[in-house]
Homo-oligomer: 96 residues x 2
DNA sequence: TCGCTTGTTATCTTATATGATAACTGTCGG
DNA sequence: CCGACAGTTATCATATAAGATAACAAGCGA
């Protein structure tokens, strides 16, 4: 199933909307991770060595079901030559 | 000891520089969290309810030694009316 | 002073992220 | 075909984040 299909199905059910958004955010996160690494011109194995961990763990981060801690994210970024802050974008349709 | 003093002492020892930077990043993170919550005009208890958790857990996040997972960060942000992405700032003095 | 609100701290339990090792796939230049 | 490289997957052990409850402290208006 494609991401687009998943999106359609998820959004058709209002209850899972936040779950989808979570999922989408996860994809974005992974994208940003991989972008940082490739920008730095590093392979997973090289990055793993800098971070004093294993390439399999890097793959796990970049592939699936990744829910890394803040410290893991900053270590990853720093190894790629980046410092990390959050970028909170205000949701226009925010209800309370 | 103030943050400034801590910074000075930490930076005087090259080996702990990254540790200090982690620490500084942690402070920045906490700042951003609290800012999001106060911007949303929420108390810890209110935010906790939205996130279906306890106010003590929110306090733990905002106070000390916080190392939240990405999903916790996004839930927190979303409850405050924000969507979250990473903002990677290139480190000018990056060596390899 | 007395409640009430907001936030903090301590503690336990449970869920899960991370570290580590090994085996596997696909790709590509020789 | 073969070896080297890049990435993936499975699995287990261990560290730790997160859920939950309770008690406490500070501030503040009635």
């Amino acid at each position: 199933m494609s991401l687009e299909q998943l999106k359609q199905r998820a959004l058709s059910n209002p209850e899972v909307k936040t779950e989808y958004e979570q999922l989408e955010g996860e994809f974005k996160l992974i994208d940003q991770l991989i972008t940082m690494r490739t920008d730095a011109g590093l392979t997973q194995a090289q990055l793993a060595e800098i971070m004093h961990t294993q390439k399999s763990n890097i793959s796990r981060l970049e592939r699936g079901n990744a829910n890394p801690s803040w410290s893991t994210l900053t270590k990853y970024a720093q190894a790629c030559g980046f410092e990390l802050t959050l970028k909170p974008n205000k949701l226009s349709d925010h209800r309370r």
